[in-house]
């Protein structure tokens, strides 16, 4: 029924099937062999198909046909069933067993259902009942060429993919639902020191003995339908004496079909040894500096407070005032040191973070609720605009919360009393977007270039008294970068600022 529909669809709009155009689209000149004892049919096919751009040869009977096929490859064979000598069915079996790629179209005078089934089972592609019109022949040939082209596309795509995956420096391992290896690239085998020739089809536990990785694959496979998260861990692989141990960032991603059934797991291994080392040096340094700065600051603060308390003698109002100011300054310096430590911690965490499917709008609603009282205190109208449909991203929950809370709290601080802040999510075909727009002080064009720099804060007569360390947007930027996203800001002084974060919509389903 379905194939009949297809055929009708195929015929009706193009009364003259432009076989020529289809042939022009494929990169080869289709070679067609007509095997038929009727001279009339031979001639007709040859003339028509040559005109359409095919290379056509003719065989009088089955034996001659098979011989010609042995000599050179034919893309399409038009095969008559009733011929003297060898029957069409025998020719078909023989041909298919040796040239499975060749498309065979059966020409027959009595196309019964029984016959059709028999030949289809033996691998025929289609039927052409005699007598046929030139148009019918064109349609059948066009269909055959489409099919050949599709097969070739798949093969090309497959080998292109294979080359790509094999040249990656990241290890890639694909397992099916029975946890058998479907693919393992050389980088993956090298990381786990596997010297087996062929691992395809083996149980993954026979190929890799790193229990953490096996556990991750188990956990990813066990995820229920309604859940979809990437599992991330760091694994240390000892490389034996004299060689440095590897630190590998492992990500396990379930691979599902349209009905959310697990087809298998894709595991990606990223060698982060060098990154971890540099990061360790950096965070050791930052935390050393921050602690060395923080402790003396705290101590100075204590001493100032003791004096302020009058424990070292009575103070004049003037002295009290000056000491209070210096105490406040030192307090904010100490706060800065704390935030610097936090930033360094967040950045280390970004190297290998766990991701899951997140509903942007839900997260936004929660944050708007969280900041409601702060906004109310300044009579700011803070709302989450509803989206047309739910927008999902793959992201790290804690990181994305950090992004939202930074943007919203910034908006509240830099919007004068009675202003308005709108938060919403939307998407286009490649990206999911987070918007935070306020009616605040705005950012001057000169400052716009610098707002994502660490410690940068715009100061003018309006914002001078707003507290902050200038690290919030730097943190936001680092997080967005680690999610392969971009952040954009549009701002008009005294009218407001609009932050847009675009995050790629990673599709893990087929």
């Amino acid at each position: 029924m379905e194939s009949k529909n297809k055929r009708e669809k195929f015929q009706s709009p193009l009364s003259e099937v432009s076989l020529k155009r289809i042939i022009k689209d494929v990169f080869f000149k289709p070679r067609v062999l007509v095997v038929d004892d009727e001279e009339r049919i031979q001639k007709a096919c040859q003339r028509l198909l040559s005109e359409e751009g095919c290379e056509v040869n003719v065989a009088q009977n089955g034996i001659q046909g098979l011989k010609m096929i042995e000599e050179k490859h034919y893309d399409i064979v038009l095969l008559d069933l009733m011929m003297p000598g060898m029957s069409g069915l025998d020719v078909l079996s023989d041909l298919k067993s040796r040239h499975p790629d060749t498309v065979v179209i059966i020409i027959t005078g009595y196309a019964t259902l029984e016959h059709s089934i028999k030949t289809m089972k033996k691998g025929a592609f289609d039927f052409l009942p005699k007598p046929f019109t030139p148009q019918e022949l064109r349609v059948v040939i066009a269909k055959a060429i489409e099919s050949i082209r599709t097969l070739q596309d798949i093969t090309t795509e497959k080998s292109r993919m294979r080359v790509m995956i094999n040249t990656l420096r990241e290890g890639v391992l694909t397992t099916d639902h029975q946890k058998r290896v479907a693919l393992a690239n050389p980088a993956c085998l090298k990381m786990f020191d596997c010297h087996k020739r062929s691992v395809i089809g083996s149980l993954v536990s026979d190929v890799i003995d790193e229990s953490t990785v096996l556990g991750m694959i188990d956990r990813a496979s066990a995820q229920p339908k309604e859940m979809f998260s990437e599992i991330t861990e760091e694994v240390c692989v000892p490389m034996g004496k004299g060689r440095q141990d590897l630190v590998i960032g492992v990500r396990c991603i379930p691979f599902r079909d349209r009905l959310n059934r697990n087809l298998g797991i894709v595991t990606v291994f990223h060698d982060i040894t060098a990154l971890k080392k540099v990061d360790q040096l950096k965070s050791d340094f930052v935390s050393m500096v921050a602690h060395e700065i923080k402790s003396p600051l705290n101590s100075v603060l204590m001493q100032l407070n003791v004096v302020l308390d009058g424990l070292a003698g009575e103070l004049t109002d003037k002295q009290q005032d000056i000491l209070s100011r210096s105490s406040a300054k030192i307090k904010s310096l100490s706060q800065l040191a704390s935030e610097l430590l936090d930033l360094s911690k967040i950045e280390s965490g970004l190297i290998n973070q766990e991701r899951e499917e997140l509903n942007l709008e839900e997260m936004m609603k929660e944050h708007v609720k969280l900041y409601r009282s702060k906004a109310d205190a300044k009579s700011i109208h803070l709302i989450c605009k509803p989206s047309v449909k739910s927008t999902f991203i793959m992201g790290n929950k804690i990181n994305m919360e950090e992004v939202l809370s930074n943007l919203i709290s910034n908006a509240i601080r830099y919007t004068p009393n009675g202003g308005k802040i709108e938060v919403w999510a939307d998407e286009n075909c490649d990206c999911a977007m987070i918007h935070v727009a306020d009616t605040g002080f705005g950012i001057s064009p000169d400052a716009l270039e610098n707002i994502f720099e660490r410690f940068y804060r715009e100061k003018n007569e309006k914002t001078r008294y707003i507290n902050g360390t200038g690290l919030g947007l730097a943190i936001v930027k680092s997080i967005v970068d680690s999610h392969h996203g971009t952040i954009q800001v549009d701002s008009v002084v005294d009218q407001g600022t609009h932050f847009t974060i675009s995050l790629p919509r990673t599709v893990y389903k087929i």
């Binding site: 921050a290 705290n298 101590s299 603060l301 204590m302 424990l311 100490s334 040191a337 430590l341």
Partner: protein, 128 residues
Amino acid sequence: MSEKKLILVVDDDPDLVEAVSMKVEAKGYRVAKAYDGVEAMDKIKEEKPAVVILDVMMPRKNGWEVCEEIKNNNELKSIAVVLLTAVADSVKTTSYTHHDGKTTLADDYVPKPIDLDELMEIVGDHCS
């Protein structure tokens, strides 16, 4: 009036110990001072203070270790321990889980930079 309660102030920064001590004395307590964990333990066993104001990050023996020794010693465990924690350690909690999974409980904590009035209120609670 009963004898003044003894408060032990422990921090590796002598300036901080001095500042806190002045405040403690001004509130009418006696003060003992120590500058690292080992010294603190000696003073605790010797003088049996009512409250120990204890820094966490210290050389030789850190605050958690001192706290554990106090709480695991039947003679000492009634001594109140108030920890001074740096905010950057962001875990603002009085319990601490060791590598072996054991948990130590301090009686209270005050984040650094220290709010002296808050500290004295806590010390007062533990002395009454």
